[in-house]
């Protein structure tokens, strides 16, 4: 087995895949975003509670490969409690990481997210990893439109 593959499927990713955090759907007026990866059929439903410019809670549901579901789990964990502005900055940092660019690892505690770094070596899988983050961006964008 190549070491690239081991980097792609690190233990912490498999842990998020097997034991997803914040799985399920938030009710009671939460923002609801459905997003597909049309090339492969992955599907995510993200529900967000945003109050006073801060993401109070974030849940996800859906179907997909290990990378897309683990990334969704990690994303909800990372943005929960963050001001929207910071969550969006974190998304940019994540995209940099996916593209294999230098990324800012000092401004925020990236935690588990950094385990996904290995995805950058697998261009065909980057879209799996970014799906949940795109959904989050769309969700807080929706919030902006409402206000």
């Amino acid at each position: 087995m190549s070491s690239n593959l081991d980097q792609l499927y690190r233990q912490v990713i498999m842990d998020h895949y097997k034991n997803p955090r914040n799985k399920g759907v938030l009710e009671d007026g939460a923002l609801n975003i459905n997003m597909n990866n049309p090339t492969c059929g992955d599907r995510i439903q993200l529900t967000l509670k945003v109050e006073d410019g801060k993401i109070e809670s974030a849940n996800f549901d859906g179907e997909g490969c290990s990378i897309s579901l683990a990334s969704a789990s990690m994303m909800t964990q990372a943005v929960k409690g963050l001001p929207v502005e910071d969550a969006l900055k974190l998304a940019k940092i994540f995209y940099d990481m996916m593209l294999g660019n230098d990324y800012d690892d000092e401004s925020y505690d990236l935690g588990d997210i950094e385990a996904l770094q290995g995805v950058s070596k697998f261009p065909a899988r980057i879209k799996c990893a970014t799906l949940a983050w795109k959904a989050m961006e769309q969700g807080v964008g929706k919030k902006d439109e409402e206000e």
Partner: protein, 406 residues
């Protein structure tokens, strides 16, 4: 010649991917190209690239001869009566869209029906959805048997006197089902409907005779049959094509152009607006020469054997679900328990093995199968049992790998 020797004619297959010999099992997505086709394209651009049907000069004549010569090869390849019935398009998708936009929009209205199946590729679903929306016609589906085949009794029940178009794929790109086109066409005709055939997965692998099938339209792509991308064919019966309006207007397809009105060239050129896909058509012609040289019957035989062998080897593995009927074309669509097809494909790729993972442009069929995605290994004349052995070994690795990390 054996498959091992055919394989040597495909330069791309002689390489390593991720440090392993390439095992290409994604020919249903696109086939590889033999050296004869590559050299034909090279020669065209190096020696006689020119526009067709207009230049008085020598290169223009050579290009026109090459382009129209390819049309004659296609005519022979699918057994059409006349080259007037052979229209070059961008591919299967464009061919079906042409029938939908030209024939469908003009001949359907409220109360009429279009009949397709749930196993169709998106390119044989969405054009009909659009026609139905625009004309008020109804889009109906022939139900599938549990093994993914079509029962002719269901065709009899679904196709009615209100049906104007029946459109079915000859071979399923997911299930590998080989559909009884001739019989379906006969039911369509009995009810006064025209029969459209998506031949994208059949023309590359088996002898097609459009007169024997008695279909009214037949669509296929060059790139799945050893030819270049960007070129395909729409066959249509002359009597129908003559009554149809072009869908693209501009250069090449006109007879006379006035300030307010224009008239069209005769068949097939009235459907080929703009500078045609000259190199592509000539490349398709070379691909047809290549396939006929090997013999479509020989190709089908090799692929049947490979599919059987793959099914047998796959059934030795635990936790594998195979989709589709036992009797099938040269492809196997499957899932491994607890491993998402994307992850299967990524592990196989790290072993140099190329398979497809996803919904295969057949979302309604995925819904029918009750899965979100599947993995698919598809075979062509250059594949061997060694490829399948490597594939099975790769799957074992994937199972172990994911078994280990969980």
């Amino acid at each position: 010649m054996s498959a091992k020797e055919w394989r040597k004619l495909f330069p791309i297959l002689d390489q390593e991917v991720n440090g392993k010999p390439l095992v290409y099992l994604d020919s249903a997505a696109t086939s590889q190209k033999p050296i004869q086709v590559i050299e034909t394209l090279d020669k065209y651009y190096k020696e006689f690239n020119s526009n067709v049907h207009r230049g008085v000069h020598t290169l223009g004549t050579r290009a026109t001869d090459g382009y129209e010569g390819a049309r004659e090869k296609v005519r022979r390849f699918i057994g059409a009566k006349s080259t007037q019935e052979i229209i070059f398009t961008r591919g299967t998708t464009t061919a079906i869209n042409t029938v939908a936009r030209s024939y469908g929009m003009a001949n359907l209205s409220e109360g009429d029906e279009i009949v397709i199946t749930p196993m169709e590729h998106h390119s044989n679903i969405i054009p009909w959805q659009q026609v139905a929306k625009a004309t008020g016609a109804t889009l109906k589906y022939i139900p599938l048997q549990p093994d993914g085949t079509i029962d002719l009794q269901d065709v009899e029940k679904t196709v009615t006197e209100h049906t104007k178009i029946v459109s079915v794929m000859q071979v399923s790109n997911v299930l590998g089902t080989i559909n009884p086109i001739k019989e379906i066409a006969s039911i369509a005709h009995k009810n006064g409907a025209v029969m459209v055939v998506d031949g994208a997965q059949s023309a590359p692998h088996m002898k097609v005779d459009v007169q024997d099938l008695d279909c009214d339209f037949f669509a296929f792509s060059a790139h799945k049959m050893c030819g270049p991308t960007g070129i395909g064919v729409l066959y249509g019966k002359k009597a129908l094509l003559n009554k149809m309006e072009p869908v693209e207007f501009g250069g090449e397809m006109i007879d006379f152009v006035g300030l307010q009105e224009s008239t069209w060239k005769e068949l097939p050129w009235k459907f080929e607006g703009g500078t045609p896909i000259i190199a592509g058509a000539i490349g398709l012609g070379a691909a047809i020469d290549f396939l006929e040289d090997i013999g479509l019957d020989n190709i089908l035989k090799v692929e049947h054997k490979l599919a059987e062998y793959a099914m047998e080897r796959l059934s030795e593995l635990e936790g594998v679900t195979i989709y589709g009927p036992k009797h099938r074309a040269g492809l196997v669509t499957f899932n491994l328990d607890d491993v998402h097809p994307h992850d299967v494909a990524t592990v196989l790729d790290s072993e140099g093995i190329a398979v497809r993972a996803g919904h295969h442009c057949a979302q309604p069929l995925m819904k029918w199968l009750d899965v979100t995605a599947t993995a698919r290994a598809s075979f062509y004349l250059y594949n061997t049992e060694d490829d399948i052995d490597a594939f099975i070994k790769g799957l074992t690795t994937a199972k172990e790998y994911f078994g280990h990390v969980f």
